[in-house]
Symmetry: C2
């Protein structure tokens, strides 16, 4: 019995889990007709049985970005799946379990800001969820904040799939949306450039942002794995508002770290659209 035959036969289990599993089966093996010698051999090989650990590995963003882009388009699974699968799926392809055991299609949940609701950008949720497999909140929160701040400030999309384009080929217009919310991200881009939010061009934008977010997330993940991660970005409006409304301040009613500007600047977009619509 070779390792290959074990691996093939065990199908949905990845390589890293195999030793423990076969050892576990061996440890209770008392098959009719099985000799003592065979049982002894199996027992001697048996290590302690444990779940495979979620250990982060460095990734190559240049390899993963096209996977994130393609993941967006795969069966319409979208941005959150695309980013998450490009990270955790890539670890699975290299290292087996536990990475390749994750029920990946669950991550479709983030598509269009959670089931079309336009809340958090699903690409960002995919990255934050991947981080959360490895790091608890004290370590993860600064990583997420760096990624989210970068998203608020960056004029998207950056990635160009070239000949691999699945929606619309060629350059796309860009803007920095100032928000991590899907609704604001998509709608400000569509408003700025006169583009239909339901068009292939808008889908192409979001699929390219999926690659962009995967690239930035992997940069942060690699720095963290190398113990070199330090957050760089901040928000002037968050700092200003939280100086009164944050924890321990005079009016500590505000929760969150989103840039306050899109909703609290009194812009034309947040005027009374129900009675005085322009």
């Amino acid at each position: 019995m070779t390792m290959v035959s074990r691996r093939d036969a065990l199908g949905w289990l990845g390589g890293a889990a195999l030793g423990g599993l076969l050892a576990g089966v061996g440890a209770v093996a008392a098959l009719p007709g099985e000799g003592l010698a065979a049982r002894k051999t199996l027992k001697e090989k048996a290590p302690a049985l444990a779940a495979p650990a979620w250990i982060p590995h460095r990734l190559d963003a240049a390899e993963c970005a096209p996977l994130a882009y393609a993941g967006y388009w795969k069966d319409g699974l979208g941005c959150c799946y695309g980013v998450f699968e490009s990270i955790i799926g890539s670890m699975g392809r290299k290292y087996g379990a536990p990475y390749n055991q994750f029920p990946f299609t669950m991550m479709e949940v983030g598509k269009s800001g959670i089931s079309e609701w336009g809340t958090v950008c699903g690409a960002l949720l995919g990255a934050a969820s991947a981080f959360a497999l490895f790091w608890g909140r004290k370590e993860r929160d600064p990583m997420v904040t760096e990624l989210f701040r970068w998203y608020e400030k960056t004029a998207f999309p950056l990635y160009d799939p070239g000949a691999a384009a699945q929606g619309v080929a060629g350059p796309l217009p860009t803007n920095a949306c100032g928000s991590v919310l899907c609704h604001i991200s998509v709608s400000t881009w569509c408003h700025a450039h006169g583009i239909d939010a339901a068009s292939a061009k808008r889908q192409e934008r979001c699929s390219r942002i999926t690659a962009d977010v995967a690239t930035k997330a992997i940069e942060i993940l690699n720095a963290k794995v190398d113990s070199g991660f330090a957050p760089l970005l901040s928000s002037k409006s968050e700092a200003a508002c939280m100086s009164c409304h944050g924890k321990g301040k005079p009016s500590p009613i505000a929760k969150g770290r989103m840039d306050c500007t899109p909703c609290h600047s009194g812009s034309a977009h947040v005027q009374d659209k129900f009675r005085n619509h322009p």
Copy 2:
């Protein structure tokens, strides 16, 4: 060899996966000293090897709500973990794998609207993620929309843990926040009642909402399992705005399903807070 000894020995694998796994090992079993009779017996028992399926099961919301509440407080894992674990963890406790194989602590990601960012309410993300393990977007999106609309309209919190309270015991003030965003949900409640967003009272509110969201999500899940789910709730503002800004309409720039009122009504909260702060 009893089922109990197999279960114990296989440790991190749950009950539902056992048949397929042992059969899979049996199908390639050619252990030294093993007799032909044993191999034949194993092969006859071997079903096709496949990953354990994510099949939804009915749950008892009255059993799960206290688990969701307690999950919020467990190691500070928060609302998203609390809801998700009360649903998928409960299935795991009853049915084993694949439910009990999920890396549950990953769901801490939704705490405070994704790593403190105040985007989508993490309790809602936990429920939507649980739905996404079983249903693709065409079936899931109406379930999520029903849950999210209910959240916008409901005066929270409803659940009272009684003597099991972990933050603050007794009744809490309520309000309907009109939004699925953590920032608006928490901050409007704190503003309305003069409560510190970093206080134990606010945490108690969110832990009770964790139980409330689990209860509503299980009501929707059970109806779906019974093939009786039909969405009931709608949003006047979404309908009004999308009649011009939705797909196929004159100005199709808007993405999302959130109630438009909190940010587009020109209320005092969205006036220019940077220059003309009251």
